[in-house]
């Protein structure tokens, strides 16, 4: 038993995903075999990257929460080659993790 797309009745799969990070970049790699670039939709909203790819007989859907602040103004690079998707997002400077709170007495 698996989920099916309500409109097209094709099976919906959950693609396997790798996430790598460097000091400046977050790299997401996802298996989406059978999907062509014009049938792939990527959205980034509130730190969640959503992948939605449609192939001839199946569909891939996955939401990935990114645990790093992303520079929303920078270009997002996405390549789909031989059914393998690679997305690179620029990291924003991390906000200071220690904040001083002024006490009123």
């Amino acid at each position: 038993m698996t989920t099916t797309d309500a409109t097209t009745q094709v099976p919906v799969f959950r693609p396997d995903v790798d996430v790598y990070t460097s000091e400046t970049t977050v790299r997401v790699r996802a298996d989406m075999p059978g999907v062509q670039s014009d049938a792939l939709k990527l959205t980034l909203h509130e730190g969640v990257l959503q992948l939605d790819g449609r192939a001839a007989h199946h569909r891939f859907v996955r939401k990935i929460r990114l645990d790093w602040p992303i520079d929303a103004e920078a270009d997002i690079e996405a390549r789909l080659c031989e059914g393998l998707l690679t997305v690179e997002l620029a990291r924003a400077e991390a906000p200071p993790t220690i904040r001083r709170v002024t006490l009123r007495g």
Partner: protein, 154 residues
């Protein structure tokens, strides 16, 4: 063997009055059950991975398999004594300067073995790899036409 039917368990709000009322209440119970969020484990089981599929129709067997990141030159398809073998190495990446945070994708060499049916026509095997999706088609041998044997009176 006689089949046994168990009466569904209803909540206490369901009163057994008229059969139609009972049926209506039962329908609401089913709607409520269907609308409830799925447990995490069950939801994970529903969202399965793409995997090797076998299909068959009247004259053709088809094998489909995900091989993302591989080009046709990197995938080998051979037939060894009636067994179709698909082998491929995982794609190599240059992740220098990056550290892995979350890894799900397999880094193992892919190998699929498929014992072909005796009726398979081995000369008809066709394989294609498009956008990382492998498809192998094998046709059924054409059956020879029935031969009429004349009987001579002896």
């Amino acid at each position: 063997m006689r089949a046994s039917f168990r009466r569904p368990v209803l909540s206490r709000s369901v009163r057994l009055t008229h059969p139609l009322v009972e049926l209506n209440q039962l329908w609401r119970e089913l709607d409520r059950w269907a609308a409830a969020p799925l447990p995490t484990a069950r939801r994970a089981r529903l969202h399965r991975r793409a995997q090797v599929q076998h299909d068959e129709d009247a004259g053709t067997w088809t094998l489909s398999a995900p091989l993302p990141g591989r080009t046709p030159d990197e995938v080998g398809v051979t037939i060894e004594e009636g067994v179709l073998v698909v082998s491929s190495d995982p794609p190599a990446f240059d992740d220098a300067g990056f550290s892995a945070v979350h890894v799900e994708r397999s880094n193992q060499p892919g190998r699929i073995r498929w014992t072909l049916p005796p009726e398979a026509d081995l000369d008809s095997v066709q394989a294609s790899l498009t956008d990382g999706w492998l498809q192998v088609e094998v046709s059924r041998k054409t059956r020879p036409a029935p031969r009429t044997i004349s009987v001579v009176a002896g």
